[in-house]
């Protein structure tokens, strides 16, 4: 069987590409490595998409001009971005709302506890899986063939020209079935390699074994590896990843959004030896939570424990797992496996260093420590009101940055030259725009913008029709 466009992956980028290629008249095959029930990669776990817009629309609470978006991007990436592609992405992010709505995706106001994103980010009604369901329905209605449980296991690329690929159905079982598929264009939209612990270990050393993967276990980077081996140009380094501190009891994969913990600024964080290691009150949590993944990754056994007392118990978003609770610190230390004497000394030292102040978690308040190393700059209140609670932290990997280089047509570059028929969209090329850092909701923006471009350009590339202006 032969197709016009073969798409590797089944998340947002893949589906946007599939829909646009099908609308462009192409016969499209989507190969999704996951079974149907788990389809959609990390897109399943998303909740919003950051879109530029010149005015609010009743759901988005105010304007978010392209220039402001660009400033934000420059700030978080520290300029580590391809400016041409960044401007293209943000400019075209203006079309995302209407595009997704036309595919049946619905939006809702920002969720409880995320008001700060109400102006900039379009939240999907029902979350990312609902959004995906709409895209899949549309793709099916447009005649896109979708194969689940089927991975792209090999690709044939000659001097940057795609000839065909080997698909492996039921690859996860005992009897995988291989099939060679010819197609006139190939779109790589298979996400990053964050679920590939061996690959993470190359960048991070043995500590990577203790990382939790927040998203899908299917993003093992197989296609990325195939593309790099075929000579595609690379962006980013293997040790670059977005890592946050998540609940240590989360499952190894797919814990998703619920395993995040927002309690760090309200207490102290100690490592397995009962020692503090960073300023917990440095800044507001949304601005800091992305550094705690790395901080915890650098600790022995890649573990940390947040200790709070009863005063702070209900000040943050509810956690999915209940904390360890005890009326005295020694008991709590036992429950989390930290030596009671050290924990007590750490807490006593901290309590003694807390200066009196007026606690207010909505501002940079004046509750801070004095003469303590590391200090706690804000929201420092003595931990003295039982019962005491402990939450265990581990590094949780959201995604990796390393990918393939593309141009503004989403064509993959081989030795600096754009391929005639190999395209990439989504996480696998996000590093072109997001060289480092993170801006909430930009992952879906990059995937949607480049998925659309890849699908449209691929459909045009395989026919003689004049490109639409």
């Amino acid at each position: 069987m032969s197709y016009d466009v073969l798409i590797a992956g089944g998340g947002n980028a893949a589906l946007c590409a599939a829909i646009c290629a099908a609308r462009g008249g192409a016969r499209v095959l989507v190969a999704e490595a996951a079974p149907k029930a788990m389809r959609g990669g990390n897109t399943r776990h998303t909740r919003n998409c950051r879109v530029a817009h010149d005015e609010g629309n009743g759901i988005l609470t105010g304007p978010y001009p392209v220039d402001e978006y660009l400033d934000d991007l420059m700030r978080v990436t520290k300029g580590n971005t391809d400016t041409e592609l960044a401007e293209l992405t943000l400019q075209r992010s203006k079309e995302i709302w209407d595009f997704l709505e036309a595919q049946g995706v619905r939006f809702q106001p920002s969720l409880g506890g995320t008001l700060s994103l109400g102006r900039t980010n379009a939240f999907f009604l029902g979350g990312g899986r609902s959004m995906l369901n709409a895209l899949y329905r549309m793709a099916e209605d447009l005649g896109v063939a979708i194969r689940y449980d089927t991975r792209v296991a090999a690709i044939e690329v000659e001097d940057g020209f795609f000839l065909g690929a080997t698909l492996e159905a039921e690859w996860d079982g005992d009897h995988p079935r291989s099939e060679r598929i010819e197609a006139r264009a190939f779109v790589a939209a298979s996400g990053g390699f964050e679920a590939n612990l061996d690959w993470l270990e190359e960048g991070w050393g043995p500590a990577a074994r203790n990382f939790l993967i927040r998203g899908t276990p299917y993003n093992t980077g197989g296609v990325l590896r195939l593309m790099l081996d075929a000579g595609a140009d690379r962006v980013g380094e293997a040790d670059q990843c977005h890592a946050v501190a998540v609940d240590g009891r989360a499952p190894k994969f797919d814990g998703g959004i619920v395993t995040r913990l927002d309690c760090v600024p309200f207490g102290i964080v100690v490592n397995a030896q009962g020692q503090r290691f960073y300023d917990e009150g440095e800044d507001f949590w949304p601005k800091r939570y992305a550094i705690w993944g790395r901080l915890v990754a650098a600790q022995p056994d890649q573990i940390g424990h947040v200790i709070i007392d009863a005063k702070s118990a209900d000040l943050f978003m509810p956690s999915v797992f209940p904390p360890e609770i005890d009326d005295d610190l020694d008991g709590l230390a036992g429950k989390i496996g930290v030596a009671p004497d050290t924990l007590r000394k750490t807490v006593d030292d901290f309590n003694a260093a807390c200066r009196p102040g007026t606690f207010d978690h909505t501002i940079h308040d004046d509750c801070r420590t004095e003469g303590l190393d590391p200090p706690k700059s804000h929201w420092a209140r003595p931990i003295e009101t039982p019962p005491f609670r402990a939450y265990t932290l581990r590094p949780g990997i959201t995604f990796t940055y390393m990918g393939v280089r593309v141009n503004r047509d989403a064509r993959v570059l081989f030795d600096g030259t754009a391929s005639p028929n190999v395209f990439a969209a989504g996480e696998i090329m996000a590093g072109n725009v997001l060289g480092q850092g993170y801006l909430a909701g930009i992952g879906m923006t990059i995937g949607t913008v480049f998925g659309r471009i890849a699908g449209e350009t691929a459909a045009r590339a395989i026919s003689n029709r004049e490109p639409a202006s």
Binding site: R106, G113, R129, D254, I257, V258, M317, P322
Partner: protein
Amino acid sequence: MTRVDLPSLATASQSEVARQMQVCNACRYCEGLCAVFPAMERRRVFTEGDVDYLANLCHNCGACHYDCQYAPPHPFAVNVPQAMAELREESYARFAWPQALGPVFARNGVWIALVSALAVAGFILGFALLADPGALTASGDFYAVMPHDAMVAVFAPVFLFSLLALALSLRRFWRTADDAHPVPVTLAALWQAMREAAALRYFDGGGMGCMSQSERPDRHRRTFHHLTFYGFLLCFASTSSGTLMHYLLDWPAPYPWWAPPKLLGVPGGLGLVIGAAGLIWYDWRRDPALLPERRTGMGAAFTWTLLALGATGLALYWLRETPAMGVLLAVHLGVVFAFFVTMPYGKFVHGLYRFAALVRHAHEGRAHDVQEAEAPTEGRVRT
């Protein structure tokens, strides 16, 4: 932190709902789908009263199952519609008055409905056969088959008992929820709940439609529910108008086609038949993942009874001048009797509890300043 209040959670279904709500409270992606999620977000502890309330606030539209990234085979195994349906069915039996009857009906509801309908129909037929067999076939006159006073003597006590049982069950439901979070009943909340119930506002997956067979939403299930509900109201109004005309205007049946009992009854009967048939079809095609693991059959008994009510009523309307009249009347009255008997112990109560839950939700929504996501609907005009 959200807490599951174990000691207060008496049953497995309650703890399962509490467990899932704890996941949802950390996630909140479904906030815009219906009333359940904003109501859940107002709580940090989930007790018996809370979960019973939330379960009855759920309209079982199915959307949050297909939208959930933690649905099985994910190890968190979140399936809110299923867990809620299971707890709802169980709670119907728990709140039933007298308590002893709840479980009996929950287990044997279908048979009780069927047997009582047949028994009463048989009784009326036998009665008429003994008294005056000719009345069954010839006259077109209901009261020749069963005199009006006899009808009242049989049906009034059952109906009044059922009303009492319903009122006491409702009170029990309200009090359990009050134990967790007491709220007064205000006119404003009643009015809002009436509007939401009349429109089935939360029966549409946040604007996309119900998902009962797959992740493809559709709006017809809600249409069929509307037909059933308003059909039932019309039938009720028809019967009430007949009673009023009988006693106040001294104008006994039969009535001409333009009299209120007929004008209300015929469209009502049609609505019941089409609506109930549609709901039965949806129920039959429902994705097994959404069904409670322990099904009682009470839901099916209820829709089939409604279908039979409408169908026998209409048949009586069209065939009353034919020899089939007597048998049809007996069967119709048998179904009415079965409906009254099972009312307080079957799926009928879902309307009451859900309405009470909406009142509670309306009040909480007003009292607390939690911003509720307004569900965007298809074709929404953006300003």
